[in-house]
């Protein structure tokens, strides 16, 4: 299975000279469609850098990042923006919904930014919201939604349209454990439906929803293993 997202010896150095910091060192990895990869590691290890490079929000100092076969380094800022509109969905710890847009408008945002008509955008947004169980909340503003609901809206936005790469940075960090599990289940479902997923998390229970777990330390991928299935973990908890 070829990777929808691939990193080929990607290095990212911030700053110059003595003040430079290497956030990622020669990282190589691949995430295929239908696959969910968890990234774990201590703070400052380079997890978020991995995610921002994957989403085209940052450029590698060396190496190649490809999404759907496209080398992100070859793209202009507008080209990268197009990749984010059409191929990549982001979910953050802090929900990050635009407070002046309704839930449906937040979800439809990438589509509308891509020039899709209002009616079609709304229809697709409603579909995405329905998939996360929030179709009744479509007209509400983020301030009127609970944390869990906001994160589900963010996931709906991350997968709306034909986007097939879902990047999540601590998506459950601001949620209680039950809501966190619901969110992870949702991400898992989206990947099962054909998306490629990469989730940064500190929590092994949430990493267990992934097919594989990458461990990063000091900018290097130090280990990669298949995660223990979450139902096994949950069963262990029950015992």
């Amino acid at each position: 299975m070829s990777g929808y997202l691939t990193f080929e010896r990607v290095t990212r150095v911030h700053g110059q000279g003595a003040a430079s910091v290497t956030a990622l060192r020669a990282a190589s990895l691949s995430v295929a469609r239908g696959e969910l990869v968890a990234v774990m590691g201590p703070s400052g290890s380079g997890k978020s850098t991995l995610l921002t490079l994957a989403g085209g929000l940052d450029r590698p100092t060396e190496g190649t990042v490809r999404v759907d076969g496209v080398d992100l380094r070859s793209l202009t800022r507008s080209g990268l923006a197009e990749v984010r509109r059409t191929k990549v969905g982001y979910v953050f710890q802090g929900f990050n919904l635009i407070p002046s847009l309704t839930a449906a408008e937040n979800v439809a945002l990438p589509l509308e930014l891509d020039g899709l008509g209002g009616r079609e955008s709304r229809r697709l947004a409603q579909e995405a919201l329905a998939e996360v169980g929030l179709v009744d909340e479509a007209a509400r503003f983020p301030d009127d939604l609970s944390g869990g609901q906001q994160q589900r809206v963010a996931i709906a936005r991350g997968v709306v349209g034909d986007r097939r790469l879902l990047l999540a940075d601590e998506p459950t960090g601001a949620l209680d454990s039950q809501t966190g599990e619901d969110v992870m289940r949702l991400i898992r479902e989206r990947c099962d439906a054909g998306a490629a997923g990469m989730v940064v998390t500190h929590d092994a229970r949430h990493a267990a929803w992934a097919d594989r777990v990458l461990f990063i330390r000091d900018g290097m991928v130090v280990d990669e293993s298949a995660s223990e299935p979450v139902d096994v973990l949950l069963a262990g908890d029950a015992r």
């Binding site: 978020s48 921002t52 989403g55 929000l57 940052d58 800022r77 507008s78 923006a81 197009e82 990749v83 984010r84 509109r85 059409t86 990549v88 982001y90 953050f92 802090g94 990050n96 919904l97 635009i98 407070p99 002046s100 847009l101 408008e105 945002l109 990438p110 509308e112 930014l113 891509d114 020039g115 899709l116 008509g117 209002g118 936005r157």
Partner: protein, 877 residues
């Protein structure tokens, strides 16, 4: 390329964010709408008050079909629709004057004509007499209907009836009052006032309208007629032009057809220098508005940085991110344009009647020039977009990852900007210096202010950087404010720039004005003591007995008005005697030719004579006591300080230098004092010298050592004019008009308001943004007063840095413009002795007030009005 449809989310976010931050939005709208409102109101008022012949033809031609004017000797006449606006002609003396028969022949039909004659008469009323302009026309003729506006009473219907204007009515003349009019030939006739009003558009201060037989006026070089008998077509107008006559036709006004508005070469086009100056003023106002509104947009963009970053994460292009701020600017610009133009039209319309009453003129129909108003609205939109341009650009350059991670993510300003700024400053300075060196270079200096202003703006970020980095030794509040200004350059730079531009303009104008005033002081001197008046009777013929009687009546009239014994008699040499005084000076000999009645005979300088210094008066009195003569010169002459000897000569009739037949009177000690031209005395001869030279003397002037009010002066003048029109009343108002100090005060006050606005806006926005920092300060134990001190320091940094920079740069065009304004070597004449090449005066008090006092006052104001308590920080958006 991003499609317009893809910009909808940006516009939607902008719209909703505007509602969320409505106070900030309101601030930006008000800043942009205010100049729009002022200009729109002025446009509506001026256009409505400015009545054109097409709007109200009756004001020009009554009920006639045309009004025509024949100028003496005019031929090859060409005109546009309105000959007063556009016409050209040639002139040849001795051409046969146009008569009514010529007009009828040119028109090819027998048309009724009513002649309009203009002239002047002396009007005698109960308490005095005065001169008045006269319009003589047959107001009984229906063609004249509507030409004269009647406020009270009616139009004259018979010989001996007149209508007077408000200027004459103010003399206490009422309806039914009898008046005596005295024609230029001296004939007197009685008339009766039947109405008060004036011809439309008349600017005469005193005016009278009557039938031709009431007010006979000799034919002058220009004659006008009202024409009836049907439409006067453009072909008729051209036929009239052929006989040297100009015509304004009602039919052509209503339907111009092929008639041109203007004809080539008739002048009246836009003066390119004026266009450039107006363009520069508009550009500077635009810049000022942009800079004042800029900080509001910078803060709005900052408040939305998270939203913008999120949009970028969702795939927004930089253009779409910019559009969040630009759409906001567009919306605010549209609101400001609508509000400004709407309110301007409403207020202009509501004040038309008041303005018309103030101008003593009736207004025309409401005249909305949509092109002008559209231009003003466009100004609002343009201001908003320009004010938002930099914040929008900065928003699109922010690193979304950094912003979402809680860091600033603000791009570093390009290091090339200070260099471009310095280059523009150099370019502007060179332009200003070039303008200073060319005659009439004031426009060049004015235009060079634009690169100077832009260059100054471009160096502001670098200057803030220097100040912020050097702030380590400053007390905490100032250090905090300086560093915050550096850190938030997007918001601080426009505010500092607005203050700097304001101060730059004021300093440049202030230096120009002060230098101009310095030249005025050196070259134009008062002629009299402002608290005195002089009454003189000129000898314009008539017998000595008559003059004695006239003079006696004048003295009685002055005593009656001022009080007996107040006025002092002044002895003069009879006015027919022409004296010449030659005074040796360092290089050559200066000659002064004076007329007898300008020569006062006195043993002391009369109190009414203005002298520059007390020392002048003392020296002059000493010369008079020693039997000498005091002469006056307007220039700072080389012999001003020296007591010299003058050689007196009695001149024969004729102008100019000494001629054969001149009788030398001899030499005498002389003192030349400085005084203005047209002083009541050009020379003061001591009685001893007058006796030695056998000069005849008479008393034909009175010195009134009392300050006369305008009303009292007019009453006295009217009284004396009733006695003789050879009498003059001199009062010197030259020291009354707006003084340089007053101009500086007005400049300082206007600049102060703008500075205060710019500084307060920036300070309030900075405080609003600094809330989390201030909360942090409080949490680590800062005293409650620290918020106030920080706020005052913000004001001090913004106001002080802006004012200092503006003052320094403003000196460049200010000093430069003083050269073309005041140079004494460009007048085409030899520079008067003692005068410098040009005058330069720096208004240090004004500059000190702007650079030191105003920032301190602003800081104090901010300190006094800032709350001490700091609320806990909340999320930014």
């Amino acid at each position: 390329m991003t499609s317009w449809r893809s910009l909808r989310p940006s516009a939607r976010v902008a719209r909703r964010e505007l509602r969320r931050g409505w106070r900030r939005s309101l601030l930006a709208v008000l800043l942009i709408a205010l100049p729009v409102f002022v200009v729109a109101t002025a446009s509506v008022l001026l256009r409505t008050l400015e009545v054109t012949p097409a709007e109200a033809p009756e004001r020009w031609m009554g009920a006639a079909d045309a009004v025509i004017r024949a100028e003496s000797g005019a031929f090859q006449v060409e005109q546009g629709i309105d000959p007063d606006q556009s016409a050209s002609w040639s002139s040849k003396p001795g051409l046969k004057p146009v008569e009514p028969a010529d007009l009828r022949r040119a028109l090819g039909r027998d048309v009724p004509l009513v002649e309009l004659s203009r002239g002047g008469v002396d009007v005698e009323f109960t308490d005095g007499a005065t001169y008045a302009d006269v319009l003589a026309l047959d107001t009984r003729d229906r063609l004249t209907a509507g030409l004269v506006r009647v406020e009270r009473g009616r139009l004259p219907r018979a010989a001996g009836e007149v209508l007077i204007n408000a200027g004459l009515a103010d003399r206490g003349i009422g309806l039914g009052d009898p008046l005596t009019v005295r024609s230029a030939s001296g004939e007197r006739s009685m008339v009766r006032v039947v109405g008060v009003g004036s011809p439309h558009g008349s600017q005469a201060s005193r005016m009278m309208v009557g039938l031709p037989q009431t007010l006979p006026i000799p034919s002058g070089s220009s004659r006008s007629w009202l024409v009836g008998g049907g439409d006067v077509t453009w072909d008729d107008v051209r036929a009239l032009n052929k006989i040297g006559v100009f015509a304004l036709s009602r039919a052509v006004l209503a339907d111009p057809g092929d008639a041109p508005d203007s004809i080539p070469g008739s002048g009246g086009g836009d003066n390119p220098v004026m266009v450039a100056v107006v363009g520069m003023i508009v550009a500077m106002v635009l810049l000022e508005v942009v800079l004042l509104a800029g900080p509001a947009f910078a803060v709005a963009a900052r408040r939305q940085e998270r939203t913008t970053a999120l949009m970028m994460v969702c795939g927004a292009t930089p253009r779409q991110a910019r559009w969040v701020v630009l759409a906001m600017a567009g919306l605010l610009g549209v609101i400001a344009a609508g509000l400004g133009v709407g309110l301007g039209v409403a207020v202009g319309w509501a004040s038309v009647d008041f303005a018309a009453r103030t101008a003593s003129e009736s207004a025309g129909p409401l005249d909305l020039r949509w092109l002008e108003l559209g231009g003003v609205a466009l100004f609002a939109l343009l201001s908003a977009f320009l004010a938002a341009a930099v914040p929008a650009w900065a928003a699109s350059r922010r690193d979304p990852v950094a912003v979402l991670g809680g860091r600033r993510g603000e791009p570093q300003p390009r290091s090339g900007r200070p260099i471009i700024g310095l280059a523009l400053l150099g370019f502007g300075a060179v332009g200003a210096i070039g303008g200073a060196q060319e005659p009439g270079g004031d426009a060049t200096v004015g235009i060079s202010a634009v690169p100077l202003a832009i260059g100054m703006l471009l160096v502001v970020p670098a200057l803030l950087g220097v100040i912020g980095r050097a702030a380590g030794w400053l007390p905490f509040p100032l250090r905090f404010a300086a560093r915050d200004a550096l850190r938030n350059r997007a918001r601080t730079v426009p505010a500092v720039g607005a203050v700097a531009i304001t101060v730059m303009g004021i300093v440049a104008l202030g230096v120009g004005n002060a230098s101009d005033a310095a030249q005025e002081r050196a070259t134009s001197l008062p002629v009299m003591d402002p608290d005195a008046a002089v009454v003189s009777l000129y000898d314009m013929g008539g017998g000595a007995a008559n003059r004695d009687d006239t003079w006696r009546r004048i003295q009685e009239a002055v005593d009656a008005e001022i009080g007996a014994g107040v006025a002092r008699e002044v002895t003069t040499v009879p006015s027919k005697r022409r004296l010449r005084f030659d005074v040796p000076v360092r290089r050559n000999e200066s000659s002064m030719l004076v007329y007898g009645n300008e020569v006062v005979v006195a043993d002391r300088v009369p109190g009414s004579v203005w002298l520059a210094k007390v020392a002048d008066r003392e020296a002059a009195d000493r010369v008079l006591a020693s039997g000498g003569v005091v002469l006056f010169s307007a220039s700072r002459s080389e012999h001003t300080e020296a007591v010299a000897r003058a050689r007196g000569t009695v001149q024969p009739a004729g102008e100019g230098q000494a001629k054969p037949g001149a009788v030398t009177l001899g030499a005498a000690p002389a003192y030349v004092a400085r005084a203005g031209l047209d002083a009541p005395a050009a020379a003061i001869v001591s009685p001893a010298l007058a006796a030695r030279w056998s000069l005849p003397t008479e008393v034909r002037a009175l010195e009134i050592p009392v300050a006369l009010s305008g009303e009292r002066e007019q009453r006295l003048t009217d009284r004396l004019y009733l006695i003789s029109n050879d009498v003059s009343v001199m009062v010197d108002y030259s020291q009354d008009p707006i003084t340089p100090g007053m101009v500086q005060l007005i400049l300082g006050a206007g600049g102060g308001v703008l500075m205060l606005a710019g500084t307060l806006i920036a300070t309030l926005l900075a405080l609003s943004e600094a809330r989390p920092d201030l909360a942090t300060l409080e949490s680590v134990g800062a005293s409650p007063g620290v918020r106030r001190s920080v706020a005052a320091s913000y004001a001090l940094v913004v106001g002080g840095v802006g004012a200092l920079l503006g003052a320094l740069i403003g000196l460049i065009p200010g000093v430069a413009i003083s050269f073309p304004l005041t140079s004494t070597t460009w007048l085409g004449e030899e520079r008067p002795p003692g005068l410098p090449d040009h005058f330069l005066e720096i208004p240090w008090l004004l500059i000190g007030a702007l650079v030191v006092a105003l920032p301190l006052i602003t800081a104090a104001l901010v300190w006094a009005t800032t709350r001490n308590r700091v609320s806990l920080a909340t999320r930014l958006d």
